[in-house]
Symmetry: C2
Subunit: 227 residues, 2 copies
């Protein structure tokens, strides 16, 4: 029966995939993996290749072009490719880093496949930001604490407001804002309460202090005020 | 070698445990499980009993008494019980629903065990709120969207401010506030953009519309404005 599974494969450590995700991927007729440019290695595919035995793989290109029309065109092509697989009566499983509902490429194809009339099931994965807190050995949130999760900040005032109103602030895609984040946290005396997860569970990655230098794409800063 | 693992076993579906969590639990000398009252069934232990073969189980009581001193006393006793296991040179794995860093009982013992000088490793689990969004088939957050995660609300004004400032609002432990949540969302025209995950992956549980009746302990409301 045609069905699309959107499968989170976790933050990068192969054993952080769930038993269910492994089973779904091994039973699927086609495993579709996202890349930024055709022919490139897929981070999601690299994670599962040692632990999951798949039948067939299909590449989905999600352009990171600065031109919106090019990005949207590639998303439509990817959705169409999945729909063609489903029209053949096959099950398809699209893999993504972390969880498919949290800032994932799966978001770009979900609606198109649903509108085309096919069943979709989302298979949970370990989100990168909870894995980062676990790797740092902190309680991300506890008791009455409140958490904000944002994909980047809109300037110094924005970060000040967030840290004033929330016990925990998670800044995903923080790479380009490390200078402002560092300066704001230093001024507020919050550097000791913060850390950066950079390319966590990828080569050379890990948990680091917050510093002002620009960093790699997979950078998440977590500020835990009462940590 | 003595070591404490804090292991998230996910939201309730046995196959939502990771390969790594399964391995850690099967290798641990003792698996410690939380209960509210001694002798009760442990939800976390129920999740793993069909898929994980453990060597030995130990109960940890975390009182839900209205008296803080009783709650804190039981937390200290639980930490001491873990420390005794570790002093015997054993590895212990404490299990918890969801992820050990997200509003979990593990938060109550982490510091005491660390201060006692033992190594601690947190093993990620699928958090209940991302699993709830996955079960509902929505993108919890995408693109430039921002998310707030709160353990209950502080009244109508609080919820209005949260929904004004964030694209996605996750209200955990929402059970006691369903009337205010329902009324506020109805007034703001947001009922269609919200759902309640009640006892998800537990008997009789699932994804439901938001209604004003008080509900069970494991109730999470998710509001996704542009869903």
């Amino acid at each position: 029966m045609s069905k699309l599974y959107l499968v989170g494969v976790g933050p990068g450590e192969p054993e952080f995939i769930t038993l269910y995700a492994k089973r779904v991927l091994e039973e699927a007729d086609v495993v579709a993996y996202p890349v930024k440019n055709s022919g490139e290695k897929s981070a999601a595919l690299e994670i599962i290749k040692g632990t999951v035995n798949i039948k067939e793989a299909a590449e989905l290109e999600f352009s990171m072009s600065p031109h919106l029309s090019k990005r949207e065109g590639s998303r439509q092509s990817a959705a169409q490719k999945l729909i063609e697989i489903l029209k053949d009566g096959k099950t398809a499983a699209m893999i993504t880093l972390g969880d498919a509902g949290v800032y994932s490429t799966c978001g770009y194809v979900r609606d198109a496949v649903r509108v085309a009339g096919f069943e979709i099931e989302t298979v949970p994965g370990i989100p990168s930001f909870t894995a980062a807190a676990d790797a740092a050995g902190i309680n991300l949130c506890e008791g009455n604490e409140r958490m904000a999760v944002v994909p980047g900040i809109r300037g110094r005032d924005d970060l000040e407001r967030l840290t004033a109103a929330f016990d925990t602030v998670v800044i995903m895609k923080a790479a380009a804002h490390m200078d402002i984040i560092y300066e704001t946290l230093a001024e507020k005396g919050l550097l000791e309460s913060a850390f950066a997860a950079k390319e966590l569970y990828m080569p050379g990655g890990g948990i680091f202090p917050v510093t002002p230098e620009k960093s790699g794409y997979f950078t998440t800063v977590i500020i835990k005020k009462h940590g």
